[in-house]
Amino acid sequence: MFPRLRLSPGFARPARSFGGFVVVLALTFLGLLVITFLIGRVIPIDPVLAIVGDRATNEQYEAAREAMGLDRPLAVQFVSYVGDVLRGDLGMSVSTNRPVAEDLASVFPATLEMATIGILIGVGLGVPMGVTAAARQGGPLDQAIRVFALLGYSVPAFWLGLVGLALFYAGLGWVSGPGRVDIFYDGLVPPVTGLLLVDSLIAGDGAVFRSALSHIILPATILGFFSLAYIARMTRSFMLDQLSQEYVTTARVKGVPEWRVVWGHAFRAIRVQLITVIGLSYAGLLEGSVMIETVFSWPGIGNYLTTALFNADMNAVLGATIVIGSVFIFINKISDVLYRILDPRSRA
């Protein structure tokens, strides 16, 4: 009755679907590059002028323009732009004087760490909430969960961050304030993974670990709340579809206890759909972290992006856009493929 998760049929014919997957992924990525390239071209700031200054003579200006390759046709420029990006060259950052790619690599772990704890909270709370709401459809608990989940679609992330800081940091003193770790612990543990919680455990430094945990818990919880809202809503909707199926009625008639009908039968059937949803919300968290990181001065990619925006550091802005966009696209497409591999019905 339940489609068992069999992996082999999906992997047995990888040639067609895998090739198709790569083509779609490549085209979408190319689309992203077209957009960032065009944005880089339409900015009102003249990139040549930024280099030579406004006192340069016409010849100097033209020479610089030629050296930067801006006199070539747009299509040629685009091809060399794609080549640069593929080689990992995202240009130099005007504000940090370092290659953008290096900057991004150094800030990315901080975002990854927060988004991962966020998704753990979102899945850990969101799935049970969605299942409970569906099991008690129409009841007061269902309504309460529905409104709570809709709040996740209605509360501005930056506002919740500010209120959280005022309440739990300044008011109650339960958590630490902005930043990743207390200032006197900064740089104490050698960066192995870049994830401070993991690094401090590797170094066996309990004090740094506790400080890092107390810093990350509030922003990660707030970030997790937004994935919780989406996950709970989707779980509820999937569960309602299953609970109205005949096999559920059969199980109930046979006298299977209700908790087993819900968790053992209906929930098992929606696991595959949930993987897609969790993948999508994980990607969404990378995006949501922009606002949260700005409020919490979290030294991640979102904070890097907004700082670059204020400094009109276009290479850094576009580089961050490419990296976040690529990760987002990749997770998006992977969830699609996983769904197709894991769900026998979608293979028809």
């Binding site: 779609v24 085209l27 979408t28 689309g31 992203l32 957009i35 960032t36 944005i39 880089g40 339409v42 900015i43 009102p44 309504q143 529905r146 409104v147 809709l150 709040l151 679609y153 209605s154 509360v155 501005p156 992330a157 930056f158 506002w159 500010l162 209120v163 800081l165 005022a166 300044a170 809503r233 509820r236 909707s237 309602l240 990607a283 969404g284 990378l286 995006e287 949501g288 922009v290 606002m291 700005t294 409020v295 992006l305 907004t306 925006l309 204020f310 009109a312 276009m314 802005v317 576009l318 961050a320 856009t321 976040i324 966009g325 987002f328 696209i329 998006n332 497409k333």
Partner: protein, 301 residues
Amino acid sequence: MTRLAAWLTDDAPASRAQANLGRAYQVGQRLLRNPLSALGLAIIVLLIACAAFAPWIAPYSPVGQDLGQRLLPPSAEHWMGTDELGRDIFSRVVHGARLTLLIVALVVVISAPIGLILGAVSGYFGGWTDRILMGVTDVFLSMPKLILALAFVAALGPGIENAIIAIAITAWPPYARIARAETLTFRNAEFVAAARMAGASHTRIVGLHILPLCMSSTIIRVTLDMAGIILTAAGLGFLGLGAQPPLPEWGAMISRGRSFILDQWWVATMPGFAIILVSLGFCFLGDGLRDVLAPKSENRR
């Protein structure tokens, strides 16, 4: 009243207006039966009223400064307190309703037609037109909206107009998907064949016969998207990339209150409540509309 209701629910409407009004009446009736969607509708009506009558509702000017009255806590005179320039926050929030309504209206007016036309053309002609247009739509759909909007604003420069354009550029793809799906179901319908045989042009068929049928799904989608649009606009305002001071835009107001959040909490929190209330209102209304207009649609619940 009963005669009006009878006229509206007449099984054989005498005119097109009567039929349309009757349908609207029935949708409204069913909408009001669900408490959450009724609440949502009430919130949206309140928002529109605030925007329309802002100068009469607001007790003070939204921009008038009074440095002697700065950073006062909420009281009978200043319901939501005052900000760092002594401006009444309640008055600014009320006037902010105008900006919020303006932003969402403009974003929808720009993005919905783009999406609808692209989707309808894509579904109607099929073949390579369809593949290319839907390919572009897919590219946009699989990209992070907020990041893309940020990059666009970075290129266009800060300001409320550019924020609206940037959000609209990222908001159209879902409408294209909807219009395409609906068009595919009607493309081979007899009324389309009849119109074609009567000599109607492609433009006329798509514009007058197909697009109107995409309306109810679009309305649902637009209502559900409103909260996202409001949050993105407020986020841009918060980062200083959207509406510029002294405009009483809610996100920008929160940004100003950020420096006082620990001592004068009301400056940043009050506009946030307005954002939450309005976004929730659109969510409730959208959920309700979906249940009433498209009980079996794919974006159910």
